[in-house]
Symmetry: C2
DNA sequence: ATTGTAATTCGCAAAATTACGAATAATATT
DNA sequence: AATATTATTCGTAATTTTGCGAATTACAAT
C-alpha cells in the first residue's frame, strides 16, 4: 500500500522509453541497420528488404520519424531516408548513460 | 512490386527488439534504475515509487522478468527483486554493438 | 485457528500496435 | 492530357498493451 508518488515519471525515463518503443519491433531495427549501412536509401529499397506490405513499411518509417530517429527528404520521384544524426547521437548517449549505471554489488 | 524477403527477421534484430520492448515503458525504466541503485528491493519498495496500482506494477515486473532482465527471489514474506546480471550484460553488449555501427558519411 | 502482511493472479475495459488492401497524392515521362 | 512510378493515407480488423479493483495465494505472527 503506502503512498504512491502521484506525479508522472521523470523526463529522462520518458525519453528513454520513447526511444526504446521506437526500437521495439524487428522491422524497425532492420530499417535502422540498413540506413546505417547504405549511402542512399529510398522507400523502395527498404520495402524490398522487409516481409511486409508497402503500407505497413510506411507506418514503421513514420514511427521512426516521429521518434526523431530518422528523416525523409523528398527527392522526386523518390523519398530518400536517412538517420537523423543529431538525435541518433542523443539516443546513443541516453542509452550509454543508462547502461553504464553501476549495478549494486550482489 | 519487387520481391519481398519472404522469411522472418534475423535473430539479432528479434532479440534486440524484444529487449527494447521491455524497456519501452517509463515505469519499467524507473524500476530498472531503482534496482540498479538499491542494494535490496522488494515489491513494496518498487510499488511505492510508481504512480500505479499493485497489480499493474506486478505486471510490469513480470514483463521485465519474461524478458530476462530481472529476477525475483522469494524471501518470505517478501519477494526480493534484482537485475539478472548475466542477461543485463547480454543486453548491454547487444545495445552497444547496435549503436556502434558506423553511420554512412552524409 | 485466526489475523495480518506481501505479492500475484483474475476478469475486465480502454487504448495502442500491427497489418493489410484499396485509394489517393505527387511527380516524371510520354 | 494521359500514363507510369513512387510513396503515403484511409479504413478496417486482429492482437497486444496498459491499467484497475477484487479475489486469491503464501506465509508469519499471534
Amino acid at each position: 500500500m503506502a503512498n504512491h508518488k502521484q506525479n508522472v515519471y521523470n523526463e529522462k525515463d520518458e525519453q528513454l522509453a520513447k526511444y526504446a518503443k521506437a526500437l521495439a519491433h524487428p522491422a524497425r531495427i532492420a530499417i535502422l541497420r540498413q540506413l546505417a549501412l547504405m549511402d542512399t536509401c529510398c522507400f523502395g529499397d527498404i520495402n524490398c528488404e522487409l516481409p511486409l506490405s508497402q503500407s505497413t513499411v510506411s507506418q514503421h518509417l513514420l514511427e521512426l520519424k516521429n521518434a526523431g530517429i530518422i528523416q525523409g527528404c523528398l527527392e522526386p520521384p523518390k523519398v530518400k531516408y536517412c538517420i537523423n544524426k543529431e538525435n541518433w547521437e542523443d539516443l546513443k548517449i541516453i542509452m550509454k548513460e543508462f547502461f553504464n549505471t553501476e549495478i549494486n554489488k550482489k
